[in-house]
Each structure stands twice: as structure tokens, then as C-alpha cells.
């Protein structure tokens, strides 16, 4: 049994410490160690985006990040997006456009969309579709998701 590593990082703005095995992914640590189950496991190999989080503000697949690699860095998950008073504009736009059905892909899509709008506040439809190509949804057919992101960009 390999010794566990002690890791310190900022998770959703809070200084956080945890123990992990070197082989654990960031996704496993979020879900199994820190009980942050908003990030989902879909493919577990970089193809679906269900596990998306922001690492130092940049969109990543947490299933491909080795947990020890986040030492000293900051991670934002879907749990940290809304304030106690209000949903994030992207979350609101997803609700208003009914951009979800089963919802398993939704945390990933919302974080991916937020990352896009942070970098490019007024994307074209083509840019939205290109950016979201790493997120899969088996239910909605994507159109409502794309419309929600374009809507959020207007607010």
C-alpha cells in the first residue's frame, strides 16, 4: 500500500486539506474524499466533459488530472458557482431554456459555458458549438444548450 499524500489546495475559494493516493484522479478526490459530487463520472477518459472543473480558472477534465497535481492550486466546481442569493446567469439560462433533461451532463456544460463566456463574452453560435465539442449530452440534442449559452451571453 503506497503512502497517502497530504495535499493542500483551494477548493471553491476555501483552503482545503485532504489525503489521497497518488493514483487517485481529481474527480475521485472531489467525489469520494471531499463529497463534492457535482462533477460526474461519464467516460473517465477525457471524451465526455461530465467531470469538468476549473483549475486556476481554466476548464479541465478532472478525470484526467492526477490529484497530487492540484497542490497549491485552486479548483472551482459546480457547487461553488451560485451564490446563496442567486443562480449564476448561465445556470439561469439553462433553466429558462430547458437545456437539460436527465441532467448528468449539466454541471460540465455549465462550467464549460462559464469558461467560454469568461474568455469570450459574445461568442458566435459556431464558437459556442466548437467550444462545447468536448461535452457530450445524450438527451437534449444540444440545440437548447447552445441557445441557453447564447442567451446567457446577452445578459
Amino acid at each position: 500500500m503506497t503512502k497517502k499524500l497530504h495535499i493542500e489546495a483551494k477548493i471553491n475559494g476555501k483552503d482545503t486539506e485532504f489525503l489521497c493516493e497518488p493514483r487517485q484522479s481529481l474527480l475521485e478526490v472531489l467525489r469520494d474524499v471531499l463529497q463534492l459530487t457535482g462533477a460526474k463520472e461519464g467516460c473517465n477518459n477525457g471524451n465526455c466533459g461530465a467531470c469538468n472543473v476549473l483549475l486556476d480558472g481554466r476548464l479541465v477534465n478532472s478525470c484526467l488530472v492526477m490529484a497530487p497535481e492540484i497542490a497549491g492550486r485552486s479548483v472551482a466546481t459546480i457547487e461553488g458557482l451560485a451564490s446563496p442569493q442567486a443562480l449564476h446567469p448561465v445556470q439561469k439560462a439553462f433553466l429558462e431554456n430547458a437545456a437539460l433533461q436527465c441532467g448528468i451532463c449539466t454541471p460540465g456544460f455549465i462550467l464549460a459555458s462559464k469558461a467560454l463566456l469568461d474568455q469570450n463574452p459574445h461568442p458566435t453560435e459556431h464558437q459556442v458549438r466548437h467550444w462545447l465539442a468536448g461535452n457530450l449530452c445524450r438527451c437534449t440534442g444540444y440545440d437548447k444548450i447552445v441557445r441557453a449559452v447564447l442567451d446567457a451571453a446577452k445578459t
Binding site: 484522479s25 477525457g46 469538468n52 477534465n61 492526477m66 464549460a112 468536448g134
Partner: protein, 333 residues
Amino acid sequence: MKNFTYFRPTTAEQAVALLENRWGNTELLAGGTDLHDLQKEYVAQPSRVVSVTGIGALAGIRVDEKQATIGAGTKLAAIAEHADLRRHFPSLCEAASDIGGPQIRNMGTLGGNLCQRNRCWYFRDEHTPCLLKGGQRCYALDGENKYHAIFTQGRQCVIVNPSTLAPALIALGAGVNILGPKGRRSTDLAKFFFSPANANDREHTLAANEMVLEVTIPVRNWANASYEVRQKLSYDWPLVQAAVAFQGGRNGAKATGVRIVLGHVAPTPHIAEAAMKALEGRDITDANATAAGRAAAEGAKPLSQNAYKIRLVEVAVKRALLMAAGMKRYWEM
């Protein structure tokens, strides 16, 4: 996944000192977008993983009048977004911005992209003991091989090299600086790749205790472009890629020093010598680009399911040449 000991040295010298001189027990870790997946599939089972992300000097892009230098730890997104790189080397930046989605480009690095393992589904399947995993045969030869090589002469393993940066960089005349236990060495990127045949080989010529430090590209104002044929517009691996570079070729000037490099057709990036010769000293016209595309496909020996790639080579070379010469992209609406 097999557990391992994790190291995060702060210099490249410390990193290579932690590596064994044969493949298997030790692996470098950069973004992890390939390595972590290989470990989950038990294809890579290192007992020691050496992270290079603590080596500050490994990431960064410098461009001066003579050359561009890109550190091995530079993220694919940083390459795609770099204004000076894009001005000189649109082929490289286009190739980088078409890799995966933003999630992959934010994690994946230049060094990892050049050293990533191949995507043959038999290789990636834990339970298939093919040549590259110490087995006796290649399962793709008489199996599912539609995404495999078409230049197969003399190859025991018929993978395609997966990197889409490599063809663009080789066409641009890039070099690579490498660190090993005895110090630094440099080589042309064209000589960096290797056609593996057994479990002791990799897709490149690095020794197991060497690492890539940086890639250099001469700045010489050459026209260049990369074109990928894909089933889906984004988030897909190319079926065939053509990267080209040449001097002149615009506004009636003849193209000289022509370089044409194909991706996803052979176990290494494939330098299309016949096509380069066919175009040398000529104008980039529709007819000459078409002829170069035909020449590029000459000598292909496809497998049972991938003869379709021959036509794609012709198309990709033609389109890359027209793009580099700044001609109308008739295929875009």
C-alpha cells in the same frame, strides 16, 4: 490502477535522474491527458511517476527574428493562442487549436503531445497482448484497421503516429532539444519519431531516461498550412492530415524548399518526398496542387479497411497547399 510513488522535482536534471534506463517502471507526467488514461487501462503500469509540472523553466514561448522556442511544458492552449506564433506558423497554431476540446488543450503539453502513445484500439485494450505489449502478433493486420496506416511496407506494427503537431512542426523544419543523464543533445524533429515493433520500443527515439526540453522552429517567413480531414468538425482525431511549408508560392512566385508531411497515414509522420519533388520550383496552381496530392499518395499499401485514406491524402495535400498559398478555400461555404 496500479499505485505508484509520485515525484515532483523542480529541475529537469533531477527529473531525468529519477528515470530508469529502460521502459516500464518509470514515466514522466506532464498534463496527464494521455498517461493517466493509459494507467487506468493498465497499459502503462509505472511504479514511479515523475511530474514535470514543478519545473518552472519548462513552459514558455519565445519568438525572435531567427527562431521560435517552445518549452516542452507549454500547454497546447498557449500555443494555439500565441499571436507571434500564429503570425509565423499558422499551420502549428491551427493544428494545436483543433486538438480535442478546450479541456484537453488546457492540460495537454507540447512534450506530451510529441511523446503520447498511439491510439490503436488493440494497444489500448488491456486484454489484447499485441506486439507492442510483448505479444506475438499485430491484431490490426487482419482485424479492425480502418484508422491504421496505409504506408505499411516493412512495418510489423501498423499504427499511425497520433500527434497532429508533429507533421506541422516537421514541415516547418523544427528541431528538438533533449536532456539525458549525460547532458543535452539536439536532433531534427524529422528524426525524432520511430516505428515501434515490440514492448521495448516507443513511437519516438528518446531513451527511457531522456526528456524533451524544448522545440525550436526557424523563423523564415515561409508560407505554411495544415489541413485535417475528419469525420466530425471538432473533437475528433483526423483521418488524414497534410502539413506543408514552402518559400515563395504567392503572387506568381515559384514555390521552393517545398515540405509536405502527412499525419495519420504511417507509424511515423510521413515525409512525402515524391510530392515535394513534383512541386519544387513550380507555381501553386489548382492543377499543380492536385498533382502533388496524387504524388503524395504514391506507394501507399493500405490494409483491408483503409484504402479510402488514399483519396483523403490527395485531397488534404491539395487543400493544405492552396491554404498556404492564400488561395480561395473552395471547400468552405
